[in-house]
Symmetry: C2
Subunit: 353 residues, 2 copies
DNA sequence: CACGTTCATCAAAACGTTTTGACGAATTGG
DNA sequence: CCAATTCGTCAAAACGTTTTGATGAACGTG
């Protein structure tokens, strides 16, 4: 590896002159700078980030803690976040927590010892997070993505609004018996989506003599949950051609669940959407390839990534400026993005109406 | 941040003693070591990897250059690679090259200046790769994943064998007019899969009076390519109910293309598999959720990741041991994994047979 | 022309580690 | 009981940068 010393001797100047010429931190005469740059180009010099980081106390790297890259929503978010970070000169260290608290703690250690400037954190789980708390205590800037956590800066979407849009669509089509397939029951996103759905259904049918029936099942953000639960319901007589008062629509808390449900419905030869409508959440690319194509709520992954990175870098800058201040109780900004319902083939008017 | 000095003074020993106590590099008496460990625990000391890297010339970090995380095959691979790397104490720096040569070069710079110990490289594109060459010249260990590149260590699957298995399945079911939807024409994976398919078809029908007709289209590893090409073919009269001698099966070079094709076939109301069989490649999780579920060739992502990391770390160790040797012409080991055909609903006997 | 400025450059310290040569103290062997 | 060895520890150098106080040369000013 060629170092700054090599450049210095090649250009016949001191090490500090090279540093100044490259950083612009102090004025350097034009001819000298030219000689330095020529030497840099000739020797293919590349500053060692480790050494830079050691003295500057800043590494321009971010830790990305994501529960499960196999979930396309997370991989889409990871991609968008990495692109945004790179545009701003930050590198991303990828960490697959697999929803495992121990791994999370482990990764946090690694990231801290690697001196990352900030953390992008996807909870993906509902347990009040020890690793997150530890990070916050270490005074390292953290932005939580996708979930809202009190007193921690975060970026997420209007899950209640998304649920409401689904409810309004379904209510307008006469659906009032609905099966909701949630993820983990304690997850705020799941609860919020359900809340929006419920409130819009009740207010739509309020004053009419139609009763809203909302059947709830909780599990995990996985296709297998949707698949198995639909089959379970059929076995229990809640769903299927023999069922009386079967739900006329299924709302899944995310697209993966919906995809699993779709498969099960197919196996049960329940026609979607004629006999049962189906709605997902996330707006995965795949949802437009299924048959029927899936009605879903589109998450603006690019925007989320954009504001998450922006928020995080802001906080990093602040914490750099005030390195030795008292840890003043700072506000925890939270950015909420709107979502939009994408209506596709999987939704139709409630049968018998 | 608490440093090794803090530990030293807290334990009442010298800095080097702390270092030795922690690394085990030199014997330290039991009582002293205990005092050191107690201080470490009490102060929450975490060695600074930057400083460690600076002196040890090794960072225990790998660069992962991946073309497109939105492609689930790549995100699955990224996940598996990260998990394997983490198990071996390595961190992964994620880089989304987006198939853009300039971004690739850019990332290579970043990774080198971050002193990564090695590179995991997914070509994803066919251009003889400048960035890769540059990396190799820099003497940094590289393992190419998913494509075979001459003289560069790599891990990939038996694409020819995969193609052959598809061909054998289809030939056995009487398919001899087949549409092949490739990715980029110059991609070795595409060519290999095609080669396997072609050879098995020819040898199956060799000696019979049935002619093999293989229709080829090339594009990109994207769902949109499959979707549009099927529609194009229909418009050209090659596909559809009006077509004479329409292919009875479509083989896509990967699952994304197959999924796009499936959607288009549906829109054209061509029954899969009754009128047209469909086969993909990769074994994405989604392929079992489609209707009909997709016959595909399963890639062993975990195994690929495992051997890629192993190969890379081997090379890292070698290059560390021989740091100042002549750059001896080393062999470029290549690991090939077998693939297995997963037969699902999307394939049936050729119509009219 | 002497004086204070500005300008360009240099030398040295610092960042947090690991590594290694050195040095007393304790232990062993004859 | 003395020499030789081992043991435990320390101090200092090194890694590749940035930062900063110092220094000398050129310059404008009165």
């Amino acid at each position: 590896m060629t170092t700054i010393k090599d450049i210095a001797s090649a250009a016949g100047v001191s090490v500090s002159t090279v540093s100044h010429a490259l950083s612009g931190n102090r004025p350097i005469s034009e001819p000298t700078r030219a000689r330095v740059l020529a030497a840099v180009a000739a020797l293919g010099y590349r500053p060692n980030k480790l050494a830079q980081g050691l003295v500057s106390k800043t590494t321009r790297s971010l830790g990305l803690l994501v529960p499960d890259l196999a979930n396309p929503f997370f991989s889409a978010m990871a991609e968008a976040l990495e692109v945004q970070a790179h545009e701003r000169g930050y590198s991303v260290i990828l960490c697959n927590t697999n929803l495992d608290a121990e791994r999370e703690a482990d990764y946090l250690d690694v990231l801290l010892s690697r001196q990352v400037d900030g953390l992008l954190y996807f909870p993906g789980t509902s347990v009040p997070n020890r690793a997150l708390q530890a990070a916050l205590e270490k005074q390292i800037p953290v932005v939580v993505v996708d979930e809202q956590i009190a007193h921690v800066p975060g970026v997420f979407v209007d899950n209640v609004g998304g649920g409401r849009q689904i409810g309004e669509l379904l209510a307008g089509l006469g659906h009032h018996r609905i099966l909701f397939l949630g993820g983990a029951e304690a997850l705020p996103t799941v609860q919020d989506r359900l809340r929006g759905l419920r409130s819009s259904l009740y207010s739509a049918f309020n004053g009419t003599d139609t009763a809203v029936e909302l059947l709830l099942r909780f599990g995990a953000y996985r296709a297998s949950f949707g698949y198995e639960t639909v089959h379970d319901c059929a076995r229990e007589g809640l769903l299927g051609h023999a069922a009386v008062d079967a739900p006329t629509a299924i709302v899944a808390a995310n697209d993966l669940i919906a995809l699993g449900a779709l498969r099960a419905l197919r196996e049960l030869s329940i026609q979607v959407p004629q006999e049962c409508s189906l709605v997902g959440f996330d707006g995965l690319e795949f949802t437009m390839l299924t048959t029927p194509s899936l009605t879903t709520v589109q998450q603006p992954t690019g925007l989320i990534a954009n504001s998450a990175i922006e928020l995080l870098i802001d906080r990093i800058d602040v914490s750099l400026d005030h390195r030795d201040d008292y840890p003043a109780a700072r506000l925890a900004p939270q950015v909420v993005h709107p979502v939009s319902l994408v209506v596709r083939e999987s939704v139709a008017a409630a049968p018998g109406r």
